[in-house]
């Protein structure tokens, strides 16, 4: 099965086999999902893969930063807020303070609807804030924000 993909703003088309991941502007969309909960990692990974994104999951902010130094072509980071050792907010800050990483869009997820928390993250440069449990419709609205 072939998938037509139009890279908006670039004005060209690329035909790619669907199982190689969604191609946007010639680059595969690779999302990094960060969550200390194995249940939530499985869930977010499945939702993302169902949308044909390539997904890597890690269980901590520390591992996320390690991976980011090795893997430069991450289209988006989706991170849980409450994690031991390094919170999603602290990860967001580290990414936005890094000259190498700051262009990567970061989305924060939380099971709690705390307006202060949401505002803090948005002010720090988060693209969006998702309430858990995350649904496929939440993820589809992130498409346009991916790098």
């Amino acid at each position: 099965m072939l998938l037509w993909c139009v890279a908006a703003g670039f004005g060209w088309k690329e035909v790619v086999p669907w199982d190689s991941g969604l191609i946007w502007g010639g680059q595969e969309i690779h999302v990094l999902a960060v969550d200390d909960s194995s249940v939530d990692r499985a869930l977010i990974a499945k939702i993302l893969r169902s949308s044909k994104y390539r997904v890597t999951t890690v269980d901590s902010g520390k591992r996320a930063l390690e991976l980011l130094t090795l893997e430069p072509n991450i289209s988006m980071i989706i991170t849980d807020y409450w994690m031991p050792e390094m919170t999603g907010y602290e990860l967001l800050k580290s990414v936005k303070e890094s000259s190498k990483l700051r262009e990567i869009p970061v989305v924060v997820m939380s099971s709690e609807n705390v307006p202060n928390r949401i505002n803090r993250c948005l002010e720090e440069g988060a693209e969006d804030f998702l309430l858990k449990p995350v649904r496929p419709s939440d993820v589809s609205r992130l498409r346009s924000r991916m790098r």
Binding site: S37, V39, S50, K132, P133
Partner: protein, 147 residues
């Protein structure tokens, strides 16, 4: 989606007091590429939750109890329950958390008994459900549109 035989319908009805809409979201995510997705996530949940409950047990036995640590475990337990659609268990955890924030040890102990009971019942019901699903021969497999 399979067309289930009557016993499975009856069993899924029995599950309805315990599960909320999120469980059906999980079933919607299950597809040919991950045909056992729901059972896999549920397995992760019980592995995670059993460990958390052992931690909660320990935290409650401490003298004086560490309510701060307890709250962290509860946050995680409630989150996982929410992610798999274990609505009843999620609500019990919320009640437990209230007592925890009040540092009401007796309330916590009572709540914990309820949570443990819920956990055991849910595990049994879900095990039965998956076992029955395995025994059912698919009568008709509707193709998913769009995937």
């Amino acid at each position: 989606m399979f067309i289930y035989t009557t016993p499975v319908y009856r069993l899924s009805l029995a599950l309805q007091g315990f599960l909320d809409e999120q469980f059906y979201q999980l079933e919607e995510l299950q597809d040919e590429s991950s045909p056992n997705f729901v059972e896999e996530v549920v397995t992760l949940f019980f592995r995670d939750s059993s460990r958390l409950m052992a931690n909660i047990d320990q935290a409650l036995e401490q003298c004086p109890p560490d309510f701060h640590r307890l709250d962290k475990f509860l946050h995680r337990l409630k989150g996982s329950a929410s992610s798999i659609g274990a609505g009843k268990m999620k609500n019990e955890c919320a009640g437990f958390r209230e007592f925890c924030s009040e540092e009401n040890l007796e309330g916590c102990l009572r709540s914990f008994q309820k949570v443990k009971k819920e956990h055991t019942i849910l595990r049994q019901k879900l095990e039965n459900y998956f076992q029955l699903l395995r025994q059912v021969v698919p009568v008709d497999k509707a193709t998913r549109s769009g995937s």
